[in-house]
Amino acid sequence: MKVKFWGVRGSLPVPGRKTERYGGNTSCVEVRSASGTRVVVDAGTGIRKLGKEIAADDAGPSEVHLLISHTHWDHIQGLPFFSPLYQKGNKLQVYARKRDDLHLRAVFASQTDDPYFPIPFEEAKADVAFSELSDNAKFEISDVKVTSARLNHPYVATAYRLSVDGKSVVYVSDTAPFSDILFEDQFVAQPPGPGAELPAADKKKLAKMREGVVRLCEGADLVVYDTMFTPEDYKKQPHFGHSRPSDAVQICHEAGAKQLVLFHHAPERADAEIDAILAETRAATKRDGVKLDVVAAYEGLELDPENV
């Protein structure tokens, strides 16, 4: 199994000198099995370059399985620029959590509607199909086993575990910690007041959600986790739906995961700041006696869990 990072940023793409090393494209991660099954998680702007590589490398038609964590822009905005979409014979299977109010195909089709984009979705020449998933779905994509869990993010997001070749990688983005707010579909205008007590039903739901995520990460070789926030960011914006590195470390520790990949970097985070966050996180795990390898995702990073 090989894991490659094509986009590691959250919110919106951030070009420029400050992001040159870690990269400015939004979320996109590719997982390939030894037999060649290609699963891609999220379609942020990073997927544009993946598309170019697929077009250049694959001799025949391509087959891509695209798992979507949720449909906020930074996780889907690259898809109209994914060149295999416009090539006859290619296959694209899109998976995301089922919603009662909105069909998945409509969410993607609206992205390329007039007046937003010049090429409507119906003109994509590839064979595109959609699978709507239930919470805690379990299914197979060729030789890759997929399981999922619900995350704590506005309008709800999904985490995926992919297992193949005797290894597993878990993608946990985007999510808030499972402690201060329960996110559902409603807009949360204000952070909860200091010391605000959550309703018992919310607490119960969050505890269950957290347990689901820990279980999903159990014994994983790699865990890619939304660590967009510093502790200071989180204090100011607990209602924005993102985690801190310490939240990811805690989940990985409880789950006995081997390696944590810090992911979904904040748009304002310069390369040197990500270096510092990585160093702090490593120092904290060492100090606390947590046996966990930590890396920070950058564009172009390839990980082979065989070698972890």
Partner: protein
């Protein structure tokens, strides 16, 4: 008036070492008028940096007022809007002008980007600032922040994009992004709009070869930009809206080609440069 470029790229942001000099953010230009007012031309991802740069002034305290002119609603011209922080500060006022059949339709287009399946803020109404949205008509001058603005629709692939002529205290800026003229050249109305501009910021997405290859996308080549600059006798041409795959060296080559073409046409007095993210120029 003073012009600052916050995003100069077309189609999709292009981060990476290859674009750091000219910049990888999508289209956004700000204009500081002679009266000190702010006008924003398009809201690509460059709008995020513009918004952040304003927070030290009245926009940070809810005392700011500005106008935003939108050429059209393709993503690379509106995708920075949800990340423009002054829109979230109560007390700020924004007037947004764009092309649509009616003002409610233009509002609907901007609401579409904020919808809960795409963005956590869910609706413009949750943004905080006071936002007025106005659909404008071709060729009818209107007043914006003390300037006179005239808009014309240029052909752009299957749709159109507005070009804006902004007149302020005797100076003229024209912003014409996303223009894909027919083989016969730009329509007379477009040349009339650009006529005598002190600065013409013009779509120069492609080399002539790429323009031919991607004809249906409806963008200009650098040659098209030079042709309208010469025909309209502008004083300065600024190349803009580079293809997402062009590196800094590719854009250097576009600028050099434009200079050569202008000289060959005997238009040696027309200045030319490529728009650079973060640079300010005086009109």
């Amino acid at each position: 008036m003073e012009l600052t470029f916050w995003g100069v790229r077309g189609s999709i942001p292009a981060p990476g070492p290859g674009t750091v000099r000219f910049g990888g953010n999508t289209s956004c230009v700000s204009l500081r008028t002679s009266g000190g007012k702010l006008v924003v031309l398009d809201c690509g991802t460059g709008a995020r940096n513009l918004g952040n740069s304003l927070l030290g002034g009245p926009f940070g305290k809810g005392g700011g007022e500005a106008s935003i002119l939108l050429s059209h609603a393709h993503w690379d011209h509106i995708q920075g809007f949800p990340f423009f922080v002054p829109l979230y500060i109560q007390g700020n006022t924004f007037h947004i002008y764009g092309g649509a059949k009616s003002s409610p339709m233009l509002e609907g287009i901007l609401e579409g980007q904020m919808a809960p399946q795409y963005f956590p803020v869910q609706t413009l109404k949750n943004m905080g600032a006071s936002i007025e949205i106005v659909a404008i008509k071709d060729g009818e001058p209107f007043s914006v922040e003390g300037c006179t603005v005239t808009a014309r629709t240029n052909p752009h692939g299957r749709s159109g994009a507005l070009a804006f002529r902004v007149e302020d205290a005797g100076r003229v800026l024209v912003y014409a992004s996303d223009a894909g003229y027919a083989a016969a050249g730009a329509p007379a109305e477009s040349i009339a709009l650009y006529r005598g501009a002190d600065v013409l910021v013009h779509d120069s997405t492609y080399t002539p070869d790429d323009r031919k290859r991607y004809l249906e996308r409806g963008f200009s080549s650098v040659d098209d930009a030079v042709a309208v600059a010469v025909a309209a006798k502008v004083k300065r041409l600024v190349l803009f809206h580079y293809d997402q795959d062009y590196t800094d060296a590719d854009v250097d080559a576009l600028v050099a080609r434009a200079r050569r073409l202008l000289d060959d046409a005997g238009a040696t007095s027309i200045e030319v440069s490529g728009a650079v993210e973060g640079e300010t120029l005086s009109v």
